[in-house]
């Protein structure tokens, strides 16, 4: 088996999509926040609490989609907190975001431990089952890849053109982008910058939480500590890689997913000859390299990370 064989395996591409799905949700969520001018470093924590709460609600008996919805609402609530602190109060977006991450992930672990004080193996739920439309299953090569995906992956893929449309083809999208470019311009045209920015952070955070919930409700069937393990931070980098453009965010997430899927297979192929940590590093090294190439000419939102305080000069 050599490298080319890996690329021809349906299982490789299926894994790529699966790994990319939470990254797509997270990156699009972060992208919405940043397009409105607010950096959301709460993403890592919001994904964690999304993963935990989505799982918990399903464990307590609600159906899977309701679990996703509730996770999204909890994500939005943390977004609201981040928004209130950074938008009208104008606090440092870095510090607030890191605070949100610490708060949300600690809260997730705390709740989990309080509700399940003495379980040794994490309790399982019945996760999303693979699903794909029949016509797609019939396509050679694509069929087997699609056949392993769940509805959440399709949702993530549909979100990309949907978000593109909203950002570039609707009045709301124009308003949102203007808040990230020059909030004074938005204000001077009668828009409520605070409402738009907070709304964007809430919507973005909801997507991040769904990305987290994908881990517990689709990729796995239980909640583990540290299960988000830096995916949120990867999303932050992917937004820059994508130059704040949704389809490039998809590309970045797929690229990362592919490297991750590739390194696992490469590890197996090489046996013990090379320390496995080197393979684990591979996707991260590749994303740093890609970032260096792409981000140098990125035109970032001009008002990103700049607080807008009404009535101040």
């Amino acid at each position: 088996m050599d490298v080319l064989d890996i690329l021809l395996q349906a299982s490789f591409w299926a894994a790529t999509l699966r790994i990319a799905t939470p990254l797509i949700f997270g990156t699009l969520g972060e992208l919405i926040c940043e397009r409105a001018g607010v950096l959301n470093l709460g993403i890592e924590g919001i994904m964690t609490i999304g993963a935990m709460s989505g799982w918990l609600f399903v464990y307590l008996g609600v159906d899977l989609w309701t679990g996703i919805l509730l996770a999204a609402m909890i994500g939005a609530a943390f977004g609201l907190l981040h928004g209130i602190l950074t938008v009208p109060l104008g606090l440092s977006q870095h510090v607030t975001g890191i605070g949100i991450t610490l708060l949300a992930s600690s809260l997730a672990y705390f709740t989990y431990r309080v509700l399940l004080p003495d379980v040794a193996t994490p309790p399982r739920i019945e996760p999303f089952q693979p699903w794909a439309p029949d016509w797609l299953l019939a396509v050679p090569f694509l069929g087997p890849v699609a056949g392993q995906q769940t509805a959440l992956t399709w949702l993530a893929l549909v979100l990309v053109p949907l978000l593109t449309w909203v950002l570039y083809r609707t009045p709301l999208g124009l308003a949102l982008r203007t808040c990230g470019e020059n909030p004074v311009a938005a204000e001077a045209q009668g828009l409520d910058v605070y409402a738009i920015r907070i709304g964007a952070i809430m919507a973005g955070s909801a997507l991040m939480a769904v990305g987290g919930a994908f881990l517990t409700l689709s990729a796995f069937n239980a909640f583990f500590f540290e299960m988000v393990s830096g995916r949120g931070w990867i999303c932050i980098a992917l937004v820059v890689f994508a130059s704040w453009i949704p389809w490039k965010a998809l590309l970045g997430a797929l690229l990362f997913g592919a490297f991750d899927a590739f390194q696992v297979r490469l590890q197996q192929m090489m046996g013990g000859a090379v320390p496995y940590q080197l393979f684990l590093m591979l996707p991260y090294v590749m994303s740093i390299l890609a970032l260096v190439v792409m981000a140098r000419r990125a035109a970032y939102p001009q008002a990103l990370m700049r607080a807008y305080v009404k009535g101040q000069r």
């Binding site: 124009l174 203007t178 020059n182 311009a185 938005a186 045209q189 009668g190 009535g311």
Partner: protein
């Protein structure tokens, strides 16, 4: 209230008062505006003009007072405070002193922003495009609709601001210092447009520091001083001197440059070349000699290489080719610090960002260029008491008002900030002074003050490179004037040989300086 036969005012402000802490920025101001009228609003820097208009437009909320706007039915309606949305709905449009444009968006996007229902699945771009095209047609405000606003010239960007207001069928148009950044030709064009709009029934409030244009354009003039309205007259019944006097409460005399013999070359540029790069305006084979005791003016529209020329002299930029000499010797190596030590004084274009450190106090800012001299030290440590004493003296000598030595510099008005920079630069007795747009946005009192200081430095034998867009300023101060256009510098000709109209054309590229560049 309205006398029979007299039209009711379009806009009525009563008793508008606004305080910032202990500062009264607007003090019980009454103001009326009729349909089709152009009203000029004058006042020193910090008099409260922008504050008043920001209250009208809903950026600030007044502490007291009422605003009424004539509704569509002709009856006056109170305007809810603190809402730009309400002001826009009432037909008030504003062209801000600092443009409120999203530079990375297209002209069309900037114009339609906020005019459609926010929650809608699509934009009606075709209709918007047609409406904007018709508006451009009727007003003559030509701009490419799909161009990125950031790629437009300042004059075009201002047209976008006007279109934004007119697109919403504004009935009151506020322009806050619209001509501060325009060339004379662009200003003349703007005035033609404004006159036509006023004839169509638009009420216009126009803020400016340039008294000639105020007198030629406005029907009525109101003057603010320290937040109070001190004068309101018909434009035909007044003159420049009276308006200037009302603004600053003392007669203003603009100093004139008396001819004087020049000394040895202080600054020489030979074949200086700066390659274009991101954020760097190119220069092409620039030759210039500047003598001691001489002011050479660089005329031109911003963006034609001024920033690079200033950067070279300030020591923040090195030429790609060619050579600079200071007082006949090789150009000092070691950047700005070495230049300051060699007697180069810099008055930067962007006084807020490059001239002062906003959060540092006035005395700290005054000490920035000379704090490491041995005289400023005691027992090896900085002698802060001497800095404070010196600041006290300088504030008095240069008439820096608006705070004590401990006030952060960012709270100073533009004029006082500029005086602070002048004090810091001139106290060192520089032999070469770079003055980039030294009076941009300053009121006539502060402008006269800056001119006086520059002429005094010249009389002392300093060589001054004056980069300015204000032709009147160049004609008053400069011994010789050269035009900079697209990185090429024309010959520096003596002031007596220069015609103002020709200069304006050359700045637009229609003359010797631009001929070979085009």
């Amino acid at each position: 209230m309205t006398a029979p036969g007299q039209e009711p005012p379009l806009l009525r402000l009563r008793g508008i008062t606004k305080r910032f802490g202990s500062l009264v920025a607007n003090d019980a101001i009454d103001l009326d505006l009729a349909q089709g009228e152009i009203l000029a609003l004058l006042g020193e820097n910090g008099a409260g003009k922008t504050t008043l208009m920001s209250i009208l437009f809903g950026h600030y909320v007044a502490d007291a007072g009422t605003i009424e706007v004539m509704g569509a039915d002709g009856a006056p309606q109170p305007l809810p405070p603190g809402s730009a949305r309400a002001a826009l709905a009432a037909g008030i449009g504003m062209v801000h002193q600092h443009f409120t444009l999203a530079m990375n968006h297209s002209v069309l996007d900037n114009v339609i922003l906020g005019t459609e229902r926010l929650w809608s699945w699509r934009q009606d771009l075709a209709a918007a495009r047609a409406k904007l095209a018709a508006l451009i047609e009727t007003t003559g405000l030509a701009v490419p609709m799909d161009a990125r606003v950031g790629s437009l010239s300042i004059g075009e960007q201002q047209r976008v601001e006007l279109l934004k207001a007119l697109y919403r069928s504004a009935r009151v148009l506020i322009l806050d210092e619209p001509t501060a950044v325009l060339t004379p030709q662009q200003s003349a064009l703007l005035f033609t447009t404004l006159r036509r709009l006023a004839e169509g029934g638009l009420g216009i409030i126009f803020i400016s520091h340039k008294l000639e244009e105020v007198l030629s354009l406005a029907r009525r003039v109101a003057v603010l001083r320290h937040g109070r309205k001190v004068l309101e007259v018909a434009a035909t019944g007044t003159d420049k001197a009276r308006l200037a006097h009302a603004m600053v409460d003392r007669p203003v005399e603009l100093p004139k440059a008396e001819p004087q013999p020049v000394g040895a070359p202080a600054l020489e540029l030979e074949g200086v070349h700066v390659a274009p790069a991101a954020g760097v305006e190119p220069l092409v084979d620039v030759d210039l000699t500047l003598h001691a005791g001489e002011i050479v003016g660089i005329a031109g529209v911003s963006g034609n290489g001024q920033r690079s020329l200033a950067g070279l002299v300030a020591g923040t930029l090195l030429p790609d080719r060619g050579r600079l000499r200071l007082a006949g010797a090789a150009w000092p190596q070691g950047g700005p610090k070495a230049l300051i030590a060699e007697g180069v004084g810099r008055i930067p274009e962007d006084r807020h960002r490059q001239g002062v450190v906003g959060d540092m106090t006035i005395w700290e800012n005054l000490a920035l260029e000379g704090y490491d001299a041995p005289a400023c030290r005691r027992f090896g440590l900085l002698d802060l008491a001497s800095f404070r004493r010196r600041a006290q003296a300088l504030r008095k000598r240069y008439d820096i008002r608006g705070g004590g030595s401990e006030t952060p510099a960012r709270l100073l008005s533009g004029g006082n900030m500029q005086k602070l920079i002048l004090a810091r630069v001139l106290e060192r007795g520089p032999r070469l002074i770079l003055a980039a747009q030294p009076t941009r946005g300053l009121d006539i009192g502060a402008l006269a003050e800056v001119h006086r200081h520059l002429l005094e430095a010249r009389a002392r034998g300093a060589a001054i490179l004056l980069i300015s867009e204000d032709l009147d300023e160049l004609m008053q101060l400069a011994d010789r004037v050269a035009v900079l256009y697209r990185g090429r510098l024309g010959p520096a000709r003596p002031r007596a040989e220069i015609e103002l109209a020709r200069l304006g054309l050359e700045m637009a590229g229609q003359g010797p300086a631009g001929a070979d560049a085009a």
